[in-house]
């Protein structure tokens, strides 16, 4: 299950399910909500996400582009070793700022 919370003007998407095809529709809705008003600042908290498949990677890249179109950005926080490996092998990691935890990610928007 995934959920969206807000810290200041930053949206934090967190969850404990795999980022795979099954969970894409729900995530799309959460991410779409982040794109409604203003420039989206999104932290994707991967701390408890056990796995990312190709659909999840595609979702991350697609929404990174959508955020960039509006002058915003998605940052990834605290990926598990497996998720980090997946992101690295696919080179998706080069498209994102990856921070060690969601707090740091939120704080990075203040700088």
């Amino acid at each position: 299950m995934f959920e969206r919370s807000r810290t200041g003007a930053v949206n934090i998407i967190s969850g404990n399910d795999p980022l795979n095809l099954e969970n894409i529709p729900g995530l799309e809705k959460l991410l779409d909500d982040c794109l409604v008003i203003g420039q989206p600042r999104v932290v994707f908290d991967l701390e408890r996400i056990p796995l990312i498949d190709s659909a999840g990677l595609e979702l991350l890249l697609r929404y990174q582009d959508l955020c960039a179109e509006r002058g915003g950005v998605i940052k990834l926080a605290a990926p598990t070793p497996l998720c980090r490996d997946i992101l690295t092998v696919t080179d998706v990691i080069s498209r994102f700022d990856v921070l060690q935890d969601s707090l740091s990610a939120v704080g990075s928007f203040s700088r």
């Binding site: 959920e3 919370s5 807000r6 810290t7 200041g8 003007a9 930053v10 967190s14 404990n16 008003i37 203003g38 420039q39 600042r41 408890r48 960039a68 179109e69 509006r70 002058g71 915003g72 060690q100 935890d101 969601s102 707090l103 740091s104 704080g107 928007f109 203040s110």
Partner: protein, 600 residues
């Protein structure tokens, strides 16, 4: 034929003039030749006729002298048979015809007006005959030996004079044929020579009449000749130049388009909003971020709109007070809550615009919401630190000084002072502890030390820690625990601190004689621990900032109670670290309910 009319081409005018003057010359020549020929012929005939008249007069005088004038009639008839002689007669001195080519006229009275005089010279006069013809009449006096014998009267009608027009009609075609043929040949030759010029001229006229001469395509000539060849070369050059200029124009358009697209892409890629307003203050350009930052649809065309239409009301005053030619920077907040968005807006006059009335402005907008929140948090920290450090220290110092400088012998009073110092030191220690926890959170070094914990025992310990505060304020404290609670794998210290924070807040912000419920529900996958009070509650406006570090409510009832504004932030983070979350439901003046949900 109006030869000067504008549409006539040069070649046609040339041919027209050629024909006009050629024909005029031919007609004049023909008429001149005919007139001269007639003059020569008439002159020659007159000479011959006059000679014949003189000859007949001599014969008449000789006949009169030798034969008494018996041969006069025969001589007159002979003269009358001459060409062009209409009649001949002799008028006797008595005025009657003594001889006449028409014998019936003999003895008839004639014209004797010219019988007077004694000269021998011929008298010529023109008379009109009865049939309307002009008759040239010659009178030759007949004198012999001083006697007047009469007068020889000869009427002449020239054949040429009678029908010279008929003669001219006969000879005119022949006379004109040659010059006309030459003229026709001249026209053909001239036409062939002028045709090239005519085509060139017609194209040049079309170029001059064309609205866009550059687009007019000149046609090459098919006929030969140096002029046509030269024209064709010019056409080729012009076509080549046009192709080159067309290519250049296409390249320029393409390059300009690329440049514009590149510039637009560049501006649209900026996270900052950029816009340009004209002298009327209307937007002539705005990039995508500008629309988004002003919370307008990204595809909305902002051109023609004014800035006050787009900015919140607070910005209008800033803009009205700023001089047009000076740069101005101000901040705009979309609502009272800064988390809804804070923008930093810059307005700079366009370089080169010196007249204030005609000034254009470049606008830049950037989102500083997070920076603003960070500033706010920093301010709150300074306030909290000042309050939470200074107050206990001041109390400790005051009581310590009292104890040391004054002789207080009453043990009870000493004990009370020492308890106060102890509680203030505890408060100070707690604040420092919270600061350390928060700094650990900030640094990301707040790690959990999980262990299997008996939840029931843990909850009872928590309840016991806050129960004295409840009793002190006469708050009824209701603990609702299920019959059987599971064991949880949590960080006992941090989990306990988080729950103590929730219960401590409930005790602090619930008035005397209030009610607090500490309730635990076991779900299928989680454990829900809630703290419900009948306290001050939290306003809807302050709810979003509730978990912000150092946040303290602006409610006076809250301000009066010491607090660092770190407890809820810490509790939320602990819940998150355990894979759970902290939910809040509150209503101002009615109470609050905090629920910590952690996986079972």
């Amino acid at each position: 034929m109006n030869l000067r009319s504008a549409p006539q081409s040069f070649s046609r005018r040339l041919l027209g003039y050629f024909l006009l003057f050629g024909l005029t010359s031919i007609i004049a020549l023909v008429l001149g030749v005919i007139s001269f020929e007639r003059f020569l012929r008439e002159d020659c005939q007159d000479e011959q006729l006059l000679g014949r008249i003189q000859e007949v007069r001599g014969l008449l005088l000789a006949d009169q002298k030798q034969r008494g004038g018996v041969g006069a009639q025969a001589l007159v008839t002979l003269l009358g048979s001459e060409d062009d002689v209409a009649y001949a007669a002799i008028v006797a001195p008595d005025g009657k015809f003594s001889a006449h080519t028409k014998r019936s006229q003999v003895g008839q009275p004639g014209n004797h007006d010219l019988l007077q005089g004694s000269g021998d010279s011929l008298i010529e006069r023109k008379i009109r005959s009865n049939d309307g013809q002009t008759v040239r009449e010659y009178w030759a006096p007949l004198h012999a030996g001083g006697n007047t014998l009469g007068c020889l009267q000869v009427g002449v009608i020239h054949a040429g004079e009678r029908s010279w027009l008929c003669h001219m009609g006969d000879s005119l075609p022949m006379a004109c044929m040659g010059p006309l043929s030459v003229l026709l040949i001249g026209v053909i030759v001239l036409w062939r020579e002028a045709r090239t010029n005519a085509v060139i001229e017609s194209q040049l006229c079309a170029v001059s009449a064309s609205k866009s001469p550059a687009d007019f395509r000149l046609q090459p000539l098919t006929s030969g000749g140096p002029a046509a060849e030269g024209w064709n070369r010019l056409v080729e050059q012009a076509a080549g130049r046009r192709t080159a200029s067309s290519l250049e124009a296409s390249l320029n358009r393409s390059l300009n388009g690329m440049q514009e697209r590149r510039t637009e892409r560049l501006l649209n890629a900026l996270p900052e909003g950029v816009a340009l307003t004209d002298k009327d203050g209307k937007i002539s350009y705005a990039n995508r971020s500008f629309s988004i930052l002003l919370q307008q649809p990204s595809n909305l065309d902002l051109r023609g709109k004014t800035m006050p239409e787009l900015f919140p009301a607070g910005a209008k005053l800033q803009l009205e007070n700023a001089h047009l030619t000076r740069p101005v920077v101000f901040e705009v907040q979309f609502s009272q809550n800064p988390t809804d968005g804070v923008l930093r807006v810059g307005r700079n006059p366009m370089a080169g615009d010196e007249q204030p009335a005609a000034v254009q402005h470049v606008w830049t907008v950037s989102d500083i919401t997070q920076q603003k929140l960070a500033d706010e948090m920093r301010n709150q920290f300074v306030f909290a630190a000042t309050h939470e450090l200074r107050t206990p220290l001041a109390n400790i110092k005051a009581y310590a000084e009292t104890l040391s400088m004054h002789e207080i012998t009453d043990p009870e009073q000493q004990k009370r002072f020492l308890n106060t110092i102890n509680s203030e030191a505890t408060r100070l220690a707690r604040f420092v502890e919270e600061l350390l926890n928060i700094s650990q959170l900030e640094a990301g070094s707040l790690a959990l030390s999980r262990q299997e914990v008996d939840l029931e025992r843990l909850l009872n310990e928590v309840a016991d820690k806050v129960r004295p505060q409840m009793l002190q304020k006469h708050i009824s404290f209701d603990t609702q625990l299920p019959v059987k609670l599971p064991k949880l794998n949590v960080d006992k210290d941090k989990f306990t601190s988080a729950l103590v924070n929730l219960l401590g807040n409930a005790a602090k912000y619930t008035p005397d004689n209030g009610h607090i419920t500490f309730k635990t529900v076991i779900g299928q996958r989680d454990v829900q621990i809630s703290v419900e009070d009948t306290g001050i509650g939290i306003s809807r406006e302050e709810m979003p900032k509730l978990f912000t570090k150092f946040f303290r409510s602006s409610d006076e009832r809250v301000r009066d109670i010491p607090g660092s504004g770190l407890g809820l932030s810490f509790t939320q983070e602990v819940a998150r670290l355990h894979g759970g979350k902290l939910l809040v439901h509150s209503e101002l003046n009615k109470g609050s309910q905090f629920t910590m949900i952690v996986p079972a």
